[in-house]
């Protein structure tokens, strides 16, 4: 069998996405299987078709792993997502409150930091909202062991759906939010920031696990 060229590697983004779903052991064997088949396909046909195959398999695998993650523990996951949603709901406006409090203590009118004051007001609110969303994602992911990204993705979809309702008023017509273009963009980034929180926790856990394994290996090696 002809081996693929050394530079023919599976798409790293697809492999990384697969590693975010399912357990660490599952990801190890699945990524190994995908790479084995990728090498086989790349040795028989063009690298581009092998890459397409890898992406197609990866996306199907992510959907299967996410579905299995939900089916294996539906109620704890639903409870966690609901708790995260309520926390998000009740903490709405908290970052704005903190920023206003900071500005009051700084007394920007009496100092010569007017530009800073304006930038802080313009960019501070959305940035603080993103930080809040990342922290919320981290908190939810901390309780969703092995399902960090599934839980935070579900929470961001739920948040996105609830925000989508704001686009319509009681009579079913477009509300004033629909005409304010930065609002949906800021909200979309906030929802993505929740998933980012989940990814951060997942990556930290994988790194710690890898570190523990290497430590055990070194210990048994001595």
């Amino acid at each position: 069998m002809r081996r693929p060229a050394p530079h023919t590697r599976p798409p790293s983004i697809a492999a990384w996405l697969v590693s975010l779903f399912g357990s660490a052991d599952q990801a190890e064997s699945i990524l190994g299987d995908l790479e084995e088949e990728f090498s086989d396909i790349a040795s028989k046909s063009a690298a581009a078709s092998a890459r397409r195959w890898y992406w197609r398999q990866s996306l199907k695998t992510i959907a299967q792993l996410a579905g299995a993650g939900v089916r294996n523990a539906p109620w704890p996951l639903a409870g966690l997502v609901l708790a995260g949603f309520l926390l998000q709901w009740f903490s709405t406006g908290l970052p704005e409150g903190v920023i206003v409090a900071i500005l009051r203590t700084q007394r920007p009118y009496s100092n010569l930091h007017y530009d800073f004051y304006i930038s802080f007001l313009t960019y501070g609110f959305p940035i603080a909202g993103d930080i809040q969303s990342i922290l919320l994602g981290c908190l939810v992911a901390a309780f969703a062991r092995q399902r960090e990204v599934i839980a935070t993705t579900a929470l961001s979809f739920l948040g996105g759906a609830s925000i989508g309702l704001l686009f319509f008023d009681a009579s079913g017509h477009w509300s004033r939010f629909a005409y304010s273009w930065p609002f949906p963009i800021v909200q979309l980034i906030n929802q993505l920031a929740i998933v980012l929180g989940g990814v951060i926790v997942r990556e930290i856990r994988l790194a710690l696990r890898k570190g523990c394994h290497e430590h055990d290996f070194n210990w048994t090696d001595k």
Binding site: G32, D33, E36
Partner: protein, 122 residues
Amino acid sequence: MTQVNFLYIVEVMSNRDYLGEFEHIVLLAVLRLDDQAYGVTVRREIEVRTKREVSIGAIYATLDRLEAKGYVQSRPGDPTPERGGRSKRFFRVTAPGVSAIHRTHRAIRSLAEGLDLLGSRL
């Protein structure tokens, strides 16, 4: 069929835990491959025999469910270079797994008995 009879059959079937269609296919593939059953070989065996494209994720999701039920057991293999240094996970069917296959086959045979399937509109 009366509603009471239907509910009785559903109750009996849920207690016996029959295999789902894909669980059945995966278990048979693992059984056929004997000690060479891991993700890649199971996927290929299913594709060759059923002419149906399946994803690695679907195989693992099903095998994990079957392992939780005690129908298969898994063991890690050695890491190999063509897998990027990652190890294989080999599967084998347990005795309860074989019993589940027999039970499901018996139920299907019993249901198909007397039906003229070849003569029907297929």
